[in-house]
Amino acid sequence: MSSTNETVVRFINITKDFTQGKNVSRALNHVSFEVNKGDICGLIGFSGAGKSTLLRMVNELETPTEGDVEVLGHSLKNTKGKKLRDIRKRIGMIFQEFNLLESKTVFDNVAIALKLNGESKDYIQQRVTTLLEFVGLSDKKDSYPYELSGGQKQRVGIARALATKPEILLCDEATSALDPDTTESILNLLSKINKELQVTILFVTHTIRVVQKICNKVAILEHGNLVEFGNVIDIFSNPQSTIAKKFVGAVIPNVIPKGIKDELLKYDGKYKLIRIFFHAQNATDDVIWQINNRLNVHTNVMFASVSELQDVVLSVITLQITGTEDDFKKVYDYISSRQIEFEEISL
């Protein structure tokens, strides 16, 4: 499902202080941003950045010290009792440690969310069967959690979270306890849930690859501050903060490899280095050919990288342009006129 303009989660100036004895530590510091219906929004940061605390405010497992969260049109401030529980039923949640009932079978674990809603036995039977089929665990319905692998447990967690047909799914480090292959399959499943069931997903993670794979929006948190927020493609193309550069650099190399750098240092002609960001829609553009032929400026591809983001492909090409200041200006004007992002870089 593609992102829309309808806001489903709005964090308004969230501050959270944890008090332990006389010590007050600030977990979140005036954080504000919005998640729209259909988004898969990644909340990324290192340990202690406050990302889980923020996520847990969406279903009020945590309450902000200051600020408010609006979920599905309801302000959570002062929302209690039945009204809060009804909102929670519209939000599914999955956890790093799965949190399944060890004493119940897979079927009963999924059924429990429906029992809480007072659904009939027939409906529960039919709904759980459908859900287990959806997550690919039909053959495990009578197994107990201790008989399942980590990935299977998370699938049960997902089926349970989806039982009440929620509009939002919260994922708290949902793949952090899984191996790479299993992570991949869980991420594919979440992506399918987003597309087929129109569920908005908020995903807390410390791994940029998760963001790269499924998210269209990303919020980068550091020491309780929201450092960057926006479309994944924009932030991946042009990270501003040090921490964003660090995360993005892990998937899109943004440092010039040493071998190339050494060669360039030996080169004594006049040149500029620029980095051009191509998206898939530029794929058929002949920018470099045009620079060479129409502008008659000499270029040399230093290195390039390609990353597949959720729906788009981002290619970053580092180009050496040799010539005069006039040539450089011509090239810059030309690339700008094609509305392709680029930046000048230095060694």
Binding site: N59, L61, K82, L84, R85, D86, I87, R88, K89, I91, G92, M93, F95, E97, N99, L100, L101, E102, S103, K104, T105, I112, A113, K115, L116, Y144, Y146, R160, T164, L170
Partner: protein, 225 residues
């Protein structure tokens, strides 16, 4: 042959059966009452504890203090100390039924502490998952907490049952009868070592059966057969 056996013990078989019945009656009734009070106390403790779902310092501290106070009194003293209460509740100070009051007073706080432990063992994440599903506190208790703690609660009950069995031996002080009393009055005071040995064996068998049953039920509750 059986007649010879009871001649050796020095008591009629009917008396032995009466005593066994008295013991089972005392254990069973006070266990049921004690468990009911115990589970209510245990949930009150875990819910009102710091960080609990219904945090309440006053209730937690008060209940905790009351439980500790009652548990400080040795059973043999509790038995006679609360005689006025016993009289007020069951209308008599002596006999098997009268013993139910001190036995319940004795076991309920003990069970409360054992159950409190069992409830605290449940993974906090499960309570959190329950909350995220929009469960009310009551639903959390019924659908999540008790099922997850069930196995441990059963083992705790087993321990409490065995403690109760031991306590009933002292209930003879207020004329409650039972197997333990039989061993003391006939076996010890009349120096009937055959009877003494026999009652000890009966008690050992009781304990073995209770523990085996407890283990079996706990295993089943965990979903592992």
């Amino acid at each position: 042959m059986i007649d010879n056996f009871f001649k050796l013990l020095g008591i009629p078989s009917s008396q032995l059966i009466t005593c066994a019945n008295q013991t089972l009656y005392m254990v069973f009734v006070s266990l049921v009452l004690g468990s009911l009070i115990g589970i209510i106390f245990a949930f009150t403790l875990v819910l009102t504890a710091k960080g609990g779902l219904k945090e309440n310092k006053f209730v937690f501290n008060t209940l905790s203090f009351v439980i500790n106070t009652v548990r400080s009194i040795p059973f043999i003293i509790l038995l006679v100390f609360i005689l006025p209460v016993t009289k007020a509740i069951v209308g008599t100070r002596i006999g098997t039924t009268a013993a139910l009051v001190p036995l319940t007073f004795f076991i309920a706080p003990y069970i409360a502490r054992l159950f409190e432990n069992s409830l605290l063992e449940v993974n906090k994440g499960i309570i959190e998952a329950a909350k995220s599903m929009g469960a009310s506190t009551f639903e959390i208790i019924i659908h999540f907490w008790i099922p997850e703690a069930k196995s441990s609660l059963i083992l705790a009950t087993t321990i409490a049952t065995i403690s109760l069995l031991g306590a009933t031996a002292m209930a003879g002080v207020i004329g409650a009868g039972g197997v333990g009393d039989l061993a003391l009055t006939y076996g010890y005071e009349r120096m009937n070592s055959a009877l003494m040995t026999f009652t000890v064996i009966v008690l050992i068998i009781f304990v073995q059966i209770i523990q085996a049953l407890g283990n079996y039920l706990a295993r089943r509750a965990r979903g592992r057969r």
